[in-house]
Amino acid sequence: MAPSSMAPQVQFVLLFSRQGKLRLQKWFNASTLKEKKRTARELITAILARKPKMCNFLEWKDLKVVYKRYASLYFCCAIEENDNELLTLELIHRYVELLDKYFGSVCELDIIFNFEKAYFILDELLIGGDIQETSKKNVLKAVSAQDMLQEENETRSALEELGLPS
């Protein structure tokens, strides 16, 4: 695990379904693929076993995990001992709001089929586990501007795929 730091830092973000299927994973600390897989598997099991009325925090090994269920998806962030658990809940909520605005009442299928978009939004919210922007508007503006840039490329290659000159 990373050296303990006093700065608020999310160690990783996981999104998974009620069936325990991983929908998004973002790791901010170097660890092997095997460790990541094991951590994700064990955490998913531990969180799914918790009852709805319980608090949103789970002390798991040397991590503190903050999670929240939205419809069929669980959003989960691992933080450090000194971090603010309540604020982490706000961070999760912020991400959900952003997804919701971006997709227009988001559902699990949106995230499955557009998982890369879910990552792009997260990357405009967090860098290296720290929050970079507190304005929803700014995050969405940045994501859609980049979508525009990407679309220009896509249109061109779609035309090429059809054998048409761009």
Binding site: P3, S5, M6, A7, P8, L22, L24, Q25, K26, W27, F28, A30, S31, T32, L33, R50, K51, K53, M54, C55, N56, F57, L58, E59, N84, E85, L86, L87, L89, E90, L91, R94, I112, F113, F115, E116, Y119, F120, D123, I127, G128, D130, I131, Q132, E133, T134, S135, K136, K137, N138, A142, A145, Q146, L149, Q150, N153, E154, S157, E160, E161
Partner: protein, 775 residues
């Protein structure tokens, strides 16, 4: 070449698979196609293929073969390629990958791109995967971007810098000069990330704190502006103005105000303002209040402010929201050392939380409850905690039993209560009571002379009811061996049956016959039986026969004991009563203090344990009379058998690690004998110091101290005495345990002092020639 499937088509295909096997087949087929396309160096569909690979990666299939393709995408000129390439780099690469070095150049190029989003992608990736080497290579580039006029780039660069400083603290110097201007920005993203950067620098380089403390007024102003500002839809979270930024600032204030009077005073007002004015009806407001309390508790705040903070937590504790209760329990635990009485007021609520359905809450409540125990409440608290222990999750039991034991030792109003508590703890703790607690429990019993008969009887009945709990059985068996005679002669409580000699022996034999009994409990039992052979002279024949059964035991320790004890019955029967006399009170030094020490989870009492197991073996020499007899035994047995090993079980083990002479000066010789510890043999080595004196004068006030580097852990048990007798006529022993989780070469600094003939002699040095087998 066919056109590769689109990402969405692949997702649909995989989702339509009915079984795991079907999914695997589909994925393998697609991976094979992707590999072929990669080999053909196709540029057109690389982006699409990598995107598919990222989906496959998320499903848990190997995707490392896409790493180089990500780098190629990053080097492409198309934005689409870069976007997926960087995403892939963040997901598939991490610090440990060698491919990594290759990415540094692309990052450097893109950080100078004219499109802000390309710079943004590069910074985001750098912030996510940067290694110490990358940090050193690119720190100057990041610093340049911190001075950019573009807020979008600035905020990302600031978090990149945060990450770099975390990896390589020396890089702070590059970033410190830029931080000042960042704090003058209006953009919340830049402010937020600037405060993060400063916080990180303060954390990794505490010597920079005086510099940043001078900015406290500015940080306070920032916070004030936030709470005074009117409604700003963009940064509002349920009525709280940018809680993310508020909390970042509060956290930095906490770090700056710690241990600094002047700085703390400057923030008193604003903290009071935040604490009183923040709306607590929503989570966001509570998050701010929670951070404010943490800040107040850590800085040198005014007492009024502290009262305010404890009251906020008291309110939190009564909140119906479990999350709020959780953070209240967590915070009160930190607060307890500052204001014990204020936390005591909430005792009943805290105890109620021990019964909560939620394990997270129970854990916090348990730790806090133990911290609350003092002389005046120990009886009620322990009652609740024993109750808790009875139904506790197994993961809590080792901790809870240890803490109950410590509290019983430290705060017991009387001896009887103390022993009753230990008994209840052993009953409820089952097999989760650790060896140290067992050894210390025995010690506590041995200390309470007037209650020997009482507690032995209680333990007898407890074990009679359930012989499967090894820790309980071990304590009970030890007591039966030592005080078995008192048990028979003592008065029996009404309602319970009369105990006779055969009953005790039957019970001990049933322990030996039980398949779940551990070797160590068996060893305890053999010892106890042996002791009872003198306490119950009529039963000696029966005991002799039972002990003899173990001469063929597969366990070396048991076999050895059995052989030795059988020899005692035969050739040295006259010595037996003397040898098996009641143990004197176990030395004061090594029992009462260590298990109550702060870091008690690691405080080992294996010293005691050895004493107890080998109570009639001279190697430990607990006290003088015992010692003499032990030596007699040594001589006698030594003459009957060719090897000393029969007598000294500890030495009988093949000497795996050669001993080391660490000191030989002024007539003092110190040797270390090594042995892998019984608990955690992989990384713990037990060193037994043996000090002898070849001069004609005794060495008094002998003190040996040692220290090890941080990567090791050292535990020094109490020495066998403070006087090294003259003319090599005796020695002092002391046990040191070194745990070495990283398997490095052990290094140790030692310091010793003693008094010879009125002169104090001191010396120190470093030992780094430990045998390799120690590591």
């Amino acid at each position: 070449m066919p056109i590769p499937m689109r990402l969405k088509e692949l997702i649909r295909l995989i989702r339509s698979c009915k079984t795991a096997a079907e999914e695997r087949t589909a994925v393998n087929k697609e991976c094979a196609l992707i590999r072929t396309t990669f080999k053909e160096e196709d540029n057109e569909f690389r982006c699409r293929n990598v995107a598919k690979l990222l989906y496959i990666h998320m499903l848990g299939y190997p995707a490392h073969f896409g790493q180089l393709e990500c780098l190629k995408l990053i080097a492409s000129n198309r934005f689409m390629d870069k976007r997926i390439g960087y995403l892939g780099a963040m997901l598939l690469l991490d610090e440990r990958q060698d491919v990594h070095i290759l990415i540094t150049n692309s990052l450097k190029n893109d950080m100078n791109n004219s499109t802000q989003f390309i710079v943004g992608l590069a910074l985001c990736t750098l912030g996510s995967i940067c290694s110490p080497e990358m940090s050193r290579d690119l720190a100057n580039e990041v610093e340049k971007l911190l001075k950019s006029a573009n807020a979008y780039i600035k905020k990302k660069a600031a978090l990149c810098a945060t990450r770099m400083v975390r990896k390589v603290p020396e890089l702070s110097e590059i970033f410190i000069p830029v931080t000042r201007s960042l704090l003058n920005e209006k953009n919340h993203g830049v402010l937020l990330t600037a405060v993060a950067l400063i916080t990180e620098i303060c954390t990794v380089k505490p010597d920079t704190m005086p510099h940043f403390r001078r900015w406290t007024p500015q940080l306070i102003r920032l916070l004030k502006n936030l709470i005074m500002a009117g409604y700003a839809p963009d940064h509002d979270v349920s009525g709280i103005s940018d809680p993310f930024l508020q909390i970042r600032i509060l956290n930095l204030l906490r770090i700056l105000g710690k241990e600094d009077q002047e700085c703390s005073e400057a923030m008193n007002d604003i903290l009071a303002q935040v604490a009183t004015n923040t709306e607590s009806s929503h989570n966001a407001g509570n998050a701010v209040l929670y951070q404010t309390v943490q800040c107040i508790m850590d800085i040198k705040a005014e007492s009024g402010l502290r009262v305010l903070a404890v009251n906020i937590m008291g309110r939190f504790l009564l909140n119906s929201d479990k999350n709020i209760r959780y953070v209240a329990l967590k915070t009160l635990q930190k607060t307890i050392s500052i204001d014990h009485t204020a936390v005591q007021r909430h005792r009943n609520t805290i105890i109620d939380c021990l019964k909560d359905h939620d394990i997270s809450i129970r854990k916090r409540a348990m730790e806090l409850s133990f911290a609350l125990i003092n002389e005046s409440n120990v009886k009620t608290m322990i009652k609740e905690l024993l109750d808790f222990l009875n139904r506790a999750d197994s993961e809590f039991k080792p901790f809870a039993t240890l803490r109950i034991f410590q509290a019983a030792i430290k705060y017991a109003p009387d001896k009887k209560w103390q022993l009753d508590t230990i008994l209840q703890m052993l009953k409820a703790g089952g097999s989760y009571v650790n060896d140290e607690v067992v050894a210390s429990s025995i010690h506590a019993v041995s200390e309470s002379r007037d209650l020997h008969a009482y507690i032995t009887q209680q333990l007898y009945f407890a074990m009679y009811a359930d012989i499967s709990k090894q820790p309980l059985a071990q304590v009970a068996i030890w007591c039966l061996g030592e005080y078995g005679d008192l048990l028979i002669s003592g008065t029996v409580e009404e309602g319970s049956h009369k105990i006779d000699e055969d009953g005790v022996l039957d019970l001990l034999q049933s322990v030996l016959n039980d398949t779940v009994t551990s070797f160590i409990t068996r060893a305890f039992t053999l010892n106890a039986l042996m002791k009872l052979s003198t306490r119950f002279p009529k039963a000696a024949g029966r005991i002799k026969e039972v002990v003899a059964r173990y001469t063929n035991s597969l366990d070396l320790e048991l076999q050895q004991r059995s052989v030795e004890y059988s020899a005692l019955f035969k050739s040295y029967d006259t010595l037996r009563p003397g040898l098996l006399e009641r143990m004197p009170r176990i030395g004061k030094n090594d029992g009462t203090e260590a298990p109550v020490s702060a870091d008690a989870t690691t405080s080992g009492q294996a010293n005691d344990l050895l004493d107890l197991l080998g109570d009639d073996i001279p190697s430990m020499q607990p006290t003088q009379p015992q010692n003499n007899r032990g030596n007699a035994l040594l001589d006698l047995l030594g003459s009957s058998s060719n090897e000393d090993s029969v007598v000294q079980p500890v030495a009988a083990m093949p000497p795996e690690i050669p001993p080391l002479n660490i000191y030989d000066k002024n007539g003092l010789r110190i040797d270390f004998n090594f042995e892998k510890a019984t608990i955690n043999p992989d990384n713990t080595v037990q060193m037994t110091l043996n000090a002898t004196n070849s001069t004609a004068f005794p060495f008094t006030d002998f003190v040996f101290q040692a220290a090890v580097p941080r990567s090791f852990q050292l535990q020094i048990l109490a020495p066998s005495g403070a006087v090294v007798p003259p003319n090599n006529s005796g020695s002092i022993t002391q046990v040191l345990k070194v745990s070495n989780p990283n398997k490095q070469n052990i290094r140790m600094r030692v310091k010793l002092s003693f008094n010879m003939n009125g002169n104090t002699i001191q010396d120190q040095g470093e030992i780094n020639n430990f045998p390799a087998e120690c590591n």
